[in-house]
Amino acid sequence: MDHLTELENQSVYILREAYKNFKNLAMLWSIGKDSTVLLWLARKAFFGHCPIPLVHIDTSYKIPSMIEYRDKYAQEWGLNLVVGQNKKALAEGMNHEKGRIVCCEALKTQGLSQVMEQEGYTGLILGIRRDEEGTRAKERYFSPRDKNFEWNFKDQPPELWDQFKTTFADGTHIRIHPLLHWTELNVWEYIEKEKIPIIDLYFANEEGRRYRSLGCAPCTGSIESNAKNVREIIEELKDTSSSERSGRAQDQEDTYAMQKLRARGYM
């Protein structure tokens, strides 16, 4: 069995555990490569169907072609799409100039928390990976969040032999991370193998620039690159020594930016 099949089997197992154990379950779809791979894996797990609603948190600052891509495939694949937006914060003029961490928390974390409450979700599937950054390296596949949406990283449940935390107190919820054990390169190799249609922002444009990680337009930088297709991205990645999220401005805001963001409910 090749390593991509091994990764796929493990993720499918986790998705099925989530689907069986949570009555009110949703999956976050940021339109990026990871959550799109996750969506593909869900269709694998459920034999061509995606019985789990997809939540997209629209900060209104997303790169416009991301929304086009989202709507196209939502229709083509028959997805149940739920769009969340923190309208109150936007009406009050929230943007990254008020501070990147403040903005991320209002538009992403709060936006998400509003949808969760409104729809009553008790389980939320996300496409984060351990190799992305330090605090994610300490995550569990099934990771509890308390009533205030907070992550108690100092007291996480043990996780062994694929027996996951599926029971929890009222008012709390569980984050489920089926891609936790994948690396950035695994994701691209899998996209290539499965021929998954991926948004073209990842491919180099005429000016020789592409996005390596997708987010809001003001806070996401592109990188210099000539990689025009998936194969060329894989080759390029094998040769790089900078980190994947180096184009994400919020990470650089503070030494412990990601720990602070994630402890309070950020993805």
Partner: protein, 609 residues
């Protein structure tokens, strides 16, 4: 920069390694050093960490490379497991740095349970410590087969081979007592980078592999395709016209047309198809580690928890089994309390029927007379589930022979199955006892009236131990002493049942098919019903027989007195005596009387004769 930092993105299959050991023995330093020396750090990562150290006024340490949480960097200890990526020329690795602080044992277990090989670190200066032993024990319990011991901080002991060999010999003895053998002992200094990626010039007396060379010698864990077929069902899907049974094959293989049996529901079916989406062509076989979906030729009602196997090779199905368990819960694991057991995809309520041996995992000393274990300790115990569950012994198929225990909302313990009592036997005695009790014709004299008159409750005293330890002698004296104190005592020897009630049977058959236990138990039942304290000795009944006898005489209490000079008594006797103690009849009998009074079995007479 928040990168979890690996310079070269990882391609190919990663080997999963865990690093364990006592707090401060240098696990994080070793991981940091491995990354630096294999050139696996992303650009700027080292400088970034050095900047933080400057800001906080600390000297740079390699450990800071992976202690991502602010808390960890401030306290200088790893709190949670972290996963780090690096690679050698041979292959990529994901390395799990598990905390060594006792408080974070569940995080160590999380890391170690998911790894294929382990490095156990021991500080050369401090030597073997509490967590060195506890982690060693847990590695064995978790089924870890590839372990190398790394003796770190050799620079602090002037690279002295004597220190290394002393630790090696001490820890080898310890591992041997567990039945484990380390692949290698490697003297290193992670701080100075000696014998990690590069051979140390200060320890030319050491000829074995460096840490990196050792890692490359570990073998990938391959799926168990040659074991019997096991497919625990996760779910049944009806998204379209197909009724798909979904699950992951834990071991073995199966193909279209195979007849399968589902346990514990005991239903049979034939595999009609193997389903898949976005696959080149529909598979005809399934094998270990694949997440699959199958359909059957006929619709039968099976559900999550059922385990599909070939008809020729089904799993064990029963309610009572022995296990080695480790406990991580804040509350104690207690006899009689109820827990949820999660085994494959089965979730069943269970209770601890008996503690066979509670053990302090840091010293491996038994904790005598304990009907519970506290956080971080381990035990050999017997579990009883409310409904029958399907499993295998851990030594036959690891994946279906291990489980976790859930208390309230949290996974608090884990264990491996080492033995079981067949359902047929349990059922047989339980059914017999149930039938008998429901058809029993009761007299007008109640057990309470008898207890009042006799000055004691009915009870069964079993004196156990090897031949020649003085059981019969003690039993005789006990009967006599009780009798002289006006209690209704009766010595019931298994031999007496055999020569009379058992006279119709061939001796071998009498013992082999359970009749010895059954007839003895039923006769004992009559005596305890008559309100007696029945005393018996037996060489012929084993531990399992005792629980069967207890099924037959329930709810009458059984008091086991074990006479033995072993440090570890078998099972969970109420009273343990050495042969010397048992030979001193006066004090031995007194000890038993005290216990019976303590347990309110001997209540004393309410009148004088």
């Amino acid at each position: 920069m928040g990168s979890n930092g690996h310079k070269d993105p990882q391609s190919g299959r990663q080997m999963k390694l865990v690093i364990v050991g006592h707090v401060d023995h240098g696990k994080s330093t070793l991981v940091g050093r491995l990354m630096a020396d294999t050139d696996s750090l992303p650009t700027g990562k080292l400088d970034f960490i050095k900047d933080i150290c400057d800001q906080q006024g600390k000297t740079f340490e390699f450990a800071f490379l992976l202690d991502a949480l602010e808390e960890e960097q401030k306290q200088g200890i790893t709190i949670d497991t972290s996963q780090i990526f690096f690679k050698t020329k041979k292959r990529p690795y994901v390395i799990i740095d598990a905390p060594g602080h006792k408080e974070f044992l569940k995080n160590m277990v999380t890391g170690a349970a998911n790894a294929e090989a382990a490095l156990l670190l021991i500080d050369a200066y401090e030597g073997v410590q509490e967590q060195s032993r506890r982690h060693g024990y847990l590695l064995r319990l978790l089924g870890m087969k590839q372990v190398a011991v790394v003796v770190n901080k050799m620079d602090l002991v002037k690279h002295d081979p004597e220190v290394f060999y002393k630790i090696k010999s001490e820890y080898t003895d310890f591992l041997q007592s567990l039945g484990v053998e380390a692949r290698e002992y490697i003297p290193v200094s992670a701080k100075l980078g000696e014998n990690i990626a590069h051979r140390s010039e200060n320890m030319t007396w050491y000829q074995g592999p460096t840490v990196l060379e050792m890692l490359d010698q570990f073998e990938d864990k391959l799926p168990e395709v040659n074991q019997p077929f096991r497919l625990p069902l996760q779910d049944v899907y009806k998204f379209d016209e197909r009724r798909i049974l979904a699950g992951r094959v834990e071991s073995g293989t199966a193909k279209i047309g195979d007849e399968v049996i589902f346990s514990p529901s005991n239903k049979k079916g034939v595999i009609k198809s193997i389903e898949g989406w976005s696959v080149d062509k529909k598979p005809k076989t399934v094998e270990a580690s694949q997440s699959v979906g199958i359909t059957l030729t006929e619709q039968i009602f099976v559900e999550r928890g059922d385990v599909a196997t070939l008809v020729s090779d089904p799993p064990i199905v029963t309610t009572t089994f022995d296990a080695n368990v480790f406990w991580m819960g804040k509350k104690h694991l207690q006899k009689g309390e109820s827990y949820l057991i999660k085994l494959t995809t089965q979730n069943v309520e269970c209770e601890v029927a008996r503690f066979n041996k509670a053990i302090d995992a840091s010293t491996l000393e038994p904790l005598p007379d304990q009907d519970f274990i506290a956080k971080n300790d381990v035990a050999e115990l017997t579990l009883r589930t409310r409904q029958p569950i399907a499993f295998d012994l851990f030594t036959s198929i690891a994946e279906t022979g291990r489980f976790v225990l859930v208390d309230e909302y949290d996974v608090c313990g884990g264990g491996i199955i080492t033995g079981f009592t067949p359902l047929s036997e349990i059922d047989r005695y339980r059914d017999e006892a149930q039938y008998r009790d429901s058809h029993w014709i009761k007299g007008a004299v109640t057990p309470d009236m008898r207890a009042y008159r006799n000055g004691h409750q009915a009870a069964m005293i079993l004196i156990t131990g090897k031949a020649g330890v003085g059981k019969a002698d003690l039993a005789g004296h006990l009967e006599e002493k009780l009798f002289h104190q006006n209690f209704q005592s009766y010595l019931l020897d298994g031999r007496n049942i055999q020569v009379g009630l058992g006279a119709d049977m061939d001796q071998d058959k009498y013992f082999s098919d359970g009749e010895a236990v059954r007839r003895f138990g039923e006769v004992a039942k009559l005596f305890v019903d008559a309100g007696h304290v029945v005393i018996s000795t037996s060489n012929v009944f084993n531990q399992e027989d005792h629980s069967n006898i207890s099924l037959l005489v329930e709810p009458t209490p059984i008091v086991e007195i074990q006479v033995t000079n072993d440090k570890f008594p078998k099972g969970k006797p109420e009273i343990v005596m050495t042969t010397e103690e048992a030979a001193n009849h006066e004090s031995a009998v007194q000890k038993v009387l005290d216990y019976l009074k303590d347990q309110k079995i001997l209540t004393g007479h309410n009148y004088s004769i």
